[in-house]
């Protein structure tokens, strides 16, 4: 569909339903509407098969702006409304976009937006660290509490119940058996079979959105690098992109290439590590040790050439922190050659294991329809036939110069998600080689940066887990007034609840690993 057709269809629909709007062509087409039309417009968008991408709020002194981002025919569309005064009520859109539910509850817990007609308005990010009707992102909420009082566990959280004579409940977490992040999983099982799984997160809530306020852009990038340690490059690039777009900062071409090199390296490290992790969760330790070895070699190169094993703090406003010299490019290319060969050989071995295939095929099945309804991203979506890859669909430099390979599967099981990651790793190897060969010359950072006060923009990046967003608004001094990072895990975690049904509880670890959402990235 051409640029205008989708807009015309949308506008006709809005007119037909008497929805008044103000449309502006800003960074993306932005529709400002009345709060009362909030759920109506999302119904229209759902009718047009728009994909829901995120909803967040922004507290301005006494009122609140709320934004929702959709993607329609591969064009982004930002819908905005203003809530002028308490009680800041807003019709919930989770009935038509279930994926919005947790983000809405997060927005309620932190900003005090009251949701009307929400199918589920239990607290989400808030446990017991602050009280109901207190909202950390409000101006009068102090960043630090003066008195110390021990915070109790959130033991009375009203989990869904399943009744029945042979139903039994298995609570797991927040602390899990392995070396992983904390979160709670509540299973209802009959025998070994999972009837229902409910997730409860928020344990690693660190007040990221609150402490971001007032930071300088440079300080914010350090924070962004630590929103989710495994997606450090993606989060930093996303935040930098938002600030640079808001202030019209031009990033030198060489820096853009280097950013993509860093991002692809992050993607490969995580994919390789998780491929072994998935195999390990069905008892195939060989695979785990092999991928851990490859990942370690990869990370050592990161430290050697980019000064950080997890590539933290490698991106700065207007560019990147470090350049690479021709020798380093050579050694990166050489490493690429050895590691990709090693990887191929390893994949050949594991693909030759019928018992592995037997464990992974049909396990943790996520139907296309469910994945679509939940708006799943990245490999979770792509293994169930949902074709979203920002590098291709809404390409940004330098990806617009390359043909990013189309990886799409439709079986929707753990095996498909594994295959998608194998193919994506290979495609990233190729892309890396192309990026290293095509690396433009010139500066690595724009040294003349003026930040535009009171500006705002979105950053959108293809993180290894999928489309990642960051919304940033600068204050009148060019410091951060609002930072909202939306990790792709927001849209993938609910898929785990869906795909575990009817599996045996013993397969939960492998199903979980095949989704591998970030806890820190959503707890914020």
């Amino acid at each position: 569909m051409s640029d205008n057709t989708w807009q015309q269809i949308l506008f006709t629909e809005l007119k037909r339903l008497n929805i008044t709007y103000k449309s502006q062509q800003l960074q993306y087409l932005t529709l400002s509407i009345d709060a009362t039309d909030w759920s109506k417009i999302s119904n229209v968008l759902r009718g047009l098969e728009a994909r829901f991408s995120g909803v967040w709020g922004d507290v301005l002194r006494t009122n609140i702006d709320v934004y929702a981002l959709f993607s329609l025919e591969q064009h982004y569309l930002l819908v905005k409304t203003n809530l002028p005064e308490p009680p800041f009520s807003l019709p919930s859109i989770s009935t038509c976009y279930p994926a919005a539910n947790r983000m809405e509850r997060h927005m309620r817990d932190l900003l005090g937006v009251e949701l009307q007609d929400s199918p589920d308005d239990r607290r989400w990010t808030r446990h017991q660290a602050w009280k109901d009707k207190e909202y950390p992102l409000h101006e009068n909420f102090p960043i630090k509490r003066t008195s110390y009082k021990k915070t109790d566990g959130d033991c009375k959280y009203p989990f869904f119940q399943t009744q029945g004579s042979s139903v039994c409940e298995v609570p797991v977490g927040p602390i899990h058996a392995g070396i992983i992040e904390p979160g709670h999983f509540r299973f209802q099982v009959i025998g070994e079979t999972v009837l229902n799984l409910e997730q409860r997160f928020g344990y690693t809530h660190k007040g990221i959105e609150k402490i971001a306020i007032g930071k300088t852009p440079a300080q914010l990038l350090k924070l962004a690098a630590r929103v989710s340690g495994d997606s450090s490059v993606a989060n930093t690039w996303c935040a930098a992109m938002a600030i640079e777009t808001a202030s019209n900062v031009k990033v030198p071409e060489r820096a853009i290439y280097l950013r993509a090199i860093l991002l692809e390296r992050e993607r490969i490290a995580n994919h390789i590590g998780d491929i072994g992790g998935i195999c390990n969760d069905v008892g195939f330790a060989f695979a785990h040790h092999q991928t851990a070895r490859l990942r370690e070699l990869w990370q050592r190169t990161n430290a050697q050439i980019f000064n950080h094993r997890l590539l933290m703090d490698t991106i700065v406003i207007g560019g990147v922190a470090n350049d690479i010299n021709p020798d380093q490019i050579q050694s990166l290319l050489q490493e690429l050659d050895t590691i990709s060969r090693d990887f191929d050989q390893f994949i050949d071995i594991i693909q030759d294991y019928p018992s592995l295939e037997d464990r992974l095929a049909t396990t943790g099945f996520l139907p296309h329809g469910t994945a679509k309804a939940l708006g799943c991203l990245g490999y979770v979506g792509r293994a169930s036939g949902i074709d979203v890859d920002v590098r291709r669909n809404n390409s940004y430099p330098p990806y617009d110069k390359y043909k990013v390979q189309h990886v799409l599967h439709s079986d929707g099981d753990v095996l498909s998600r594994l295959q998608v990651r194998v193919e994506e790793t290979r495609s990233s190897f190729k892309l890396l080689s192309a990026l290293l060969h095509g690396l433009a010359s010139g500066d690595i950072v724009n040294s003349k940066i003026t930040l535009l006060p009171n500006s705002q923009a979105l950053g959108i990046v293809a993180a290894w887990r999928g489309e990642m967003l960051a919304f940033i608004r600068l204050d009148d001094r060019g410091n951060i007034a609002r930072y909202y990072p939306r990790d792709p895990s927001w849209l993938n975690w609910p898929a785990l609840e869906a795909l575990i049904d009817d599996n045996i509880i013993a397969d939960f670890p492998v199903c979980n690993k095949s989704v591998n959402g970030s806890y820190s990235g959503v707890d914020l």
Partner: protein, 173 residues
């Protein structure tokens, strides 16, 4: 099956001794040598660690994972990670201690049998790191637990982690 064995033999043993990881560090040479005796003496040959994320960004977790890979091979020193705090000698805590994890962290500590040690990992574990102390975080493990050793870094490298754990073991009596 044969392909797996072939790959394993072809790669061979790649584990590095702590001395190789820190060649410039003379003290560590001594530490590496003394350690086996320490572990056999005080921990009957093996020391059990329970890792708890008390509100980290998960960067520290990735590096703790790495000390178990074939290169660092923490098991060569008798160090292994256990699933329950009830089996653990050492609580290895990452993160700034979010208020939402405070209770769980305390309970994990209480579940450990005596004698027990606590290591706080990363800048977050020391003082909250970039997150500091705020309405949602306590800003460091020592705010809630008696910490025996801090390992700095954001995140600490696997070598720093190993050094830290080994230092604690050499001091533990």
């Amino acid at each position: 099956m044969f392909s797996v064995l072939k790959k394993i033999t072809k790669i061979g043993i790649i584990s590095e001794k702590i001395i190789q990881l820190t060649p410039q560090d003379e003290d560590f040479k001594q530490l590496g040598l003394a350690l086996k005796t320490q572990i056999s003496k005080h921990f009957s040959g093996s020391v059990a660690i329970r890792a708890v994320d008390s509100g980290s960004c998960n960067g520290c977790e990735l590096e703790i994972h790495a000390i178990n890979n074939a290169f660092y091979n923490a098991e060569q020193y008798g160090i292994h990670f256990v699933a329950s705090p009830r089996h653990a000698d050492i609580l290895l805590v990452t993160g700034t201690v979010s208020k939402h994890m405070e209770e769980a962290l305390l309970r994990a500590y209480q579940a450990m049998p005596d004698p027990k040690w606590v290591i706080a990992v990363g800048e977050c574990g020391i003082n909250g790191g970039i997150f500091g102390e705020n309405y949602a975080t306590l800003g460091g493990v020592s705010k809630v637990l008696p910490v025996d050793l801090h390992i700095s870094g954001c995140p600490p490298t696997p070598t720093q982690l190993l050094q830290g754990i080994l230092t604690l073991l050499s001091q533990a009596k």
